[in-house]
Amino acid sequence: MKVTQTKKDNATIVMVEGRLETGTAPELEMELNKIVPTCQNLVLDFSKLEYVSSAGLRVLLTAQKTMNARGGSMKITNINEIVREVFNITGFTSILTIE
């Protein structure tokens, strides 16, 4: 998995490539822990994400909660069919902002 960070119009765009699973989730978590406390608009670009497992979901959940508490916004963009299906099955579509 590869995580890259760019800034655009007050928003921090985090690009996640590869698979988000047990082995890779801690890495994303570390990145987000650095970004989230200072960031107002967080965009997660999942265009190059192959799939996400529950470990990944936990990272997303934590991030969403922190952003909510800080009054910031977090958006997830460009998800593929597999990721969308996971979100649907687990009900994460209800708590995440997916574009």
Partner: protein, 937 residues
Amino acid sequence: MGIGVGPIFVLIATALSPTALAVVLHLLDKKLPTWNKLNYWLKQIIIGLAFTGVTILMCCCGVEYSGLDSNVVGREIVQIAGSFGAASAGPMIAGIAFGWPAGLITGALSGLFRGLYSLRIATDYLAIPECITLLISGLVAAILRRFLFSNKKPKWGYGLILGIMTETIHMIIFFVCGVLTRNVTFAYAVIRVCDIPCAIAVTGSIVLTLLIISIIEKERIGYNFHDHTITAKVRRWMLGSFMMAIIGASLLTYFACSTQASVETHTTLVNAARDLTYELETSVWGSVGGWDIAHKTDDPDEPPINELAPLAYTRRILNDGYLAIIGITSNYTDPIIDADNQSPFNVITGGIYSTCAELTAYLPDPSEPYIFYFSDEKGEKNFPINDPSIEEKFTDTINIPLGLETDQYDNHKMTPMFKTYLRDAEGDHQLYPMMVLIMRARVTGDNDITITQEFDVISVLPLLEAQTSMGLSLRIAIYIELLIFIAIYTVIYTFIKNAVVSNIHRVNNSLQKITGGNLGVKVNVRSSEEFASLSDDINTTVDTLKHYIDQANRRIDDELRFAKEIQHGALTNVFPVKDNYDLHALMSTAKEVGGDFYDFYPLDENRLVISICDVSGKGIPAAMFMMRSKTIIKSYITNQDYTLSEAITRVNNELCANNEAMMFVTGWFGILHLDTGVLEFCNAGHNPPLIKQNGMFNYLKMPAGLVLAGMEDIPYKLNSITLKPGDEIFLYTDGVTEATSKQVKLYGEDRLVNLLNNAQYHSAKGLLDIVKQDVDLFQADVSQADDITMLAVRYKPSATFAEQKVVINPRLDEIKDVINFVNKALVMAHVEKKHIAQIDIGLDEILSNVVLRTYHFENGKVIVGFEIKSDVCTITIEDNGKETNFAESINQAHPGLALTEENIPTIGLLLVKKTMHSIHYQFKDNKNVLVVKKHIK
């Protein structure tokens, strides 16, 4: 010598008869099969008898003139002895030219006959020596044939030696017999006259026989002066040096003997003449003896006979063979009577009578009355004056005087003519005066004998007698020298042949075997110390050489092994498991380093290069050329600027440059587009590869380009085919198709393609193993002659895989290894991306659960089994942790859970439940076993 034409003719005719018989017998042997098929011994007996017959005939020719008494010396002797002498050629020819038994038979029978024949004639003095000579010549012929000539007919040149030897033996035997019978004079007389004609007859007969047989057999006649063998050299040098020695020794003996003979003769003649002179003087002056001629003549009553009685004293001298010529009155007619009242001399009256016309002419005064007193050489015979044969007898018996004692003879009294005669008789030897002393006694008076002081006494010695001792010594010396020479020659020649030359040949034979490559041969000639030492030295040298060769071989072997290892090291032997192809290659090298190689490498994610090449030749050069080619080929193919065919063209040009060794490479190069299945390829003179399409292997026979490094600027055509998933490529070198069986049959393309089409295998490696096994079986018991190199690729292998397993430690960071492993297999099986992702997610959830919830972190193992079979992917997960029923946990997971961190694991199980088709759990052998299945089509 006085030999007439008749005897010579008889001699030649008799000498030629054994030659004629030999030629006839030889032709019989050659042309008449029935004769040729006869038993060897029977033939030898017949030949022996035939030669005995001829020899006896020859003897008879000689005997024809026999029957004479021992005094016969002269031309008859030539015939007698000559024919007998020639007769000894019979046994010699039979033995030498036909076989030792024939020689023995002829010698024995003819000798026996000769011995018996002599009984018929009592005076046959020649019988015993002839008999012995025949026996010996047969024996010598047999021995020489058997031992010196290795039972083969010798070259004609040997005839010379054999003939001379035979006749020498003959003459020596003759002489020995003469000595034993106290008849040396006769023996010498015979030898003197007939040795040369006999030797010529016998030698000519033998040489001619051998020569004619050689001509019939078309053998080489001339002497080979270019023969540089040891035996030839020894022969030449010995012959030369012995000839010189014989000639030298003969000359020395001749001069010594003749000088001695001259001195002795001179002394004898001088003494004889002096005695006679003394007698005459003392008689005339009455100073010595009881007879005074002058006084007696004064007394007419005294009968002249008595007055002359003292002259009888001279008979003693005359008895020794000297002739006294005393001048005496012409009318003295009474015979001189000695004490026994016998007249020892003929008294010739009425003039001079000379046995020699020439001498008569040169006597001081022919008109003066002379009386000749003469005797035969023994002094016992009187020749009556009127005997008509007297002249002849004397001519034969008494020779012309050879010289003149000048200091005893007044030169002025000798007529110039007489001097001339003496000179002529002995050529330039005017000063060879020893033989004859001429003194003159001139006795004058009418009826009475009046002897003046002037008288000439001529003392004459027959030449034959004067020369007997000298001639005999000379001849015996020469005969003995000849025999010694022949004996030494034979001994040395035989010795050198047997002890040196034959051993050299034996050593040479062994050496030939050694140089022929068999270093195990030992030289073992131990007949003499020198050869034993030579043999040992050669053996030691060969052993040392062998040691060094072994060492060198070992070093070369080591180097070849290293070369082989380096060569192998240059080939990739790690075969990656890829999603879209399954590749394997194999190279089985022959004993020697070869020049085969394969190569494969990705150009990029989608393109795979595969190649196989074969460098001409073997050994280090091929290996080095292979390394060079491999590097150049890879560098050009990986250069993105060139198409494959361009790359190969450039490779060819570069390999052509500096290719002094004139090596070349055949190669097949392909680029497989993994996404589309397009296979681009170039063939540079290599065997056509086998391509499996629609389940069948076929040779990809398209016109190939020229071999690489053959010729510059050759274009290589780029071809392409398109493969479908499951299609395969099989590359190989001629080591496969040209593998040779024990029955010298080639493995061949047909057998290869049939094998591939009937083979059961699941991977590229499996395919190569099958081919290798079959080739090994084919060339069983035969050492592999060439490298066997193969490469197989399966494009997008079909989804049937044997069960695969992966084992990990129960750690979260190892979960991704399982996922990667399964993922790869799924990609290779062409499973849809969505399904792959779902399986990945399921595995991640299950394994993270296993690790986090049920597993002790120590001592554990998690085994993940994976199998795809007919659209169903089965994953089996085993662990040796606490018994936990995952299936139940999964089944209990329901949607609608509060989205909190605590619920995340359950949410994960929910994902498993939703994406997998069936989940089974059991606790078995203290293991949690979870079987998850998913349909993938």
